[in-house]
Amino acid sequence: MSDKGMMNNPVVKWIEYRLPIFSFMDHSIGSGYPTPKNLTYLWNYGSLAGIALVIMIITGIMLAMQYTPHVDYAFDSVERIMRDVNYGWMLRYIHANGGSFFFIVVYIHVFRGLYFGSYKAPRELLWILGVVLLMLMMATAFMGYVLPWGQMSFWGATVITNFFTAIPWIGEAVTTWLWGGPTVDNPTLNRFYSLHYLLPFVIFAVVFLHLWALHRFGSNNPLGIETKGPQDQLPFHPYYTVKDAFGIGVYLIAFCAAVFFFPNALGEVDNYIPADPLNTPPHIVPEWYFLPFYAILRAVDFDFLWIVPAKLGGVILMFAAVLILLVVPWLDRSPVKSARFRPWYKGAFWIFVFFTLVLGWVGANPADADFHGVPFVIIGQISTLYYFIFFLVIMPLLSLFEPPKPLPASISEPVLKGGGTMAGAHAKPMEKA
């Protein structure tokens, strides 16, 4: 391999002897990292999320050089970035749309994990670290959306932080403490800015833990059976480096099309109106990636057993909708990972995807509206019910009763069925052709 040549370079050797960073790289993303040979393009989303994070951090650092975190100047400073800073419009649109695309990528990544059972032993901690990353992303995105200090920034922040008033007894005090005052105001904006700058670096650190856990056992794969030897594997480099690079190219085409041609399509028009604490927008909605959770929050319009008031119930359910992902490895005890061999789970999974999308649609509509006579609240409640039944009832029951299809003996067996050769395992790829 070409790496061998590099490792003979005296400078590389000198460094490697003192800091074995080259062999570390080789074992992380190089030819020394064996990877299942049957990964589909759904396995590109991890590297895409990494690229999305890097894009957000770079543009964010540059925006921070021009942004002013003060209620009187924040909106104006964003407009100055858009108009007077060289390529400021590009930085801001990349950052604003980058958040949305980051979520698209990560949601697909999560659904891929759910479909192929990537959370199962021995990858439970890998999955849990992923859920922690998702929660950190949500917090970061929420606080970032507040910074331009438009109408939706202010009222979104007011609605979301008001959740904490639902905590019994201490709710009001906790909320005042979070706000740094009696309402969402300058202290709130300042601390959100501080945390919005901090959290991405926490995310970066957890990404390293996530990758560390990934490299312990390697990627799961579409068959959900573990690799049994070199015949099932390909070196990460060059096979998956080039495949990931191609995926990044496709991603950047879609991303840049949004940034340069439809930069405001995913935003709310109200956020181009400066924040006004005396004027509530008629229809407060969060960013699209929070809409399913917003719908779950609003689905609880009743007090539960006279003990839990509706507001508290909604807040609990909304947080539970994310937190429940943490225990998925223990809710699903089926020994079969991939839904390809779990016909019942496959059906339940796609219904789950459907209802999650429905929840997003419900979240985007006003609470009191209806769809051809069916109130959105009812649609939201049915969808919320399935959301939790999927995790709490279907997953455990299928583990017990579902008859799985027979699993292939190894990854290379079904791969070879097509009449191919064993070339993959023994080929000497990328020799000067």
């Binding site: 040979k37 496709v250 028009v269 181009y272 070339a423 993959g424």
Partner: protein, 252 residues
């Protein structure tokens, strides 16, 4: 005062919800603009006509605070023309060495002065509601330019059963149909410098296009850059795809 805010906000919310319900069924017709699509561009002559309407009509009540005179170079004005336009405005500057504020004529780096000294004065002069700044209007409303055109041409006689509040006008395109702004554009309210006939439709269209430019002055450079970026990415991705195919050729 702090205690009052939530109550006030709630009241406004209720009023707004009423307005939102009343506005259901308001359809904003879709129009075609020179700046539509990935090859979209601003029509300089149209923007100059729109600027004329802003200066002669809108600026009586509405500020345009994110636009400096120097930005008008984007509309095709020469440096001299920009200077001349700026000089027509009186700008409050200061304090001077004696600590006094003073007035001077504008220079290209000045921003369009606001018609009122502050929000309270603007509200007091306009029946309690301050006319909003227009700089970002085309991005702050759904279907921005279409909406602005529909609003400016949406003034009608109210239906017989519709009671209007004191001082409000009937507008089919406005949320709740009652708008504090009196019909601003009447046939012949401006005489276009370029000789274009100043019909209501023409004026509304020019104003909407001008406000799209004030909201997104970098739109042309953004779309032009985007085409180059996408072309580059298409070539790069095609090469990466070929590389992927070649590397993986023997892998299965």
């Amino acid at each position: 005062m702090r205690k009052l805010l939530p109550g006030l906000a709630a009241t406004l919310l209720v009023l707004n919800l009423g307005a939102a319900q009343a506005a259901e069924g308001v359809k904003i017709p879709e129009r075609h603009w020179s700046f539509d699509g990935i090859f979209g561009y601003f029509d300089r002559a149209q923007l100059q006509r729109g600027l004329q309407i802003y200066r002669e009509v809108c600026s009586g009540c509405h500020s345009l605070k994110y636009i400096a005179f120097r930005n008008l170079a984007d509309l095709g004005f020469s440096e001299e023309e920009v200077k001349a336009i700026a000089e027509e405005y009186q700008i409050v500057d200061g304090p001077d060495d004696e600590g006094e504020m003073f007035e001077r004529s504008g220079v290209p780096s000045d921003y369009f002065p606001s018609p009122f000294p502050n929000k309270q004065a603007a509200a007091a002069a306009n029946g309690g509601a301050a006319p909003p700044d227009l700089s970002l209007m085309a991005k702050a409303r759904a279907h921005g330019p279409d909406y602005i055109h529909a609003l400016l041409t949406g003034y009608e006689e109210p239906p017989a059963d519709k009671e209007l509040l004191e001082g409000l006008s009937y507008n089919v395109s406005f949320l709740g149909n009652q708008i504090a702004m009196a019909p601003p554009l009447l046939e012949g309210v401006v005489e276009y410098a370029d000789g274009t006939e100043a019909t209501l439709d023409q004026m509304a269209e020019d104003t909407a296009a001008f406000l799209m430019w004030t909201a997104e002055p970098k739109m042309e450079v953004r779309k032009r850059t985007g085409i180059k970026v996408i072309l580059f990415l298409l070539v790069m991705t095609a090469i990466l795809y070929a590389a992927k195919k070649k590397v993986w050729r023997d892998a299965h």
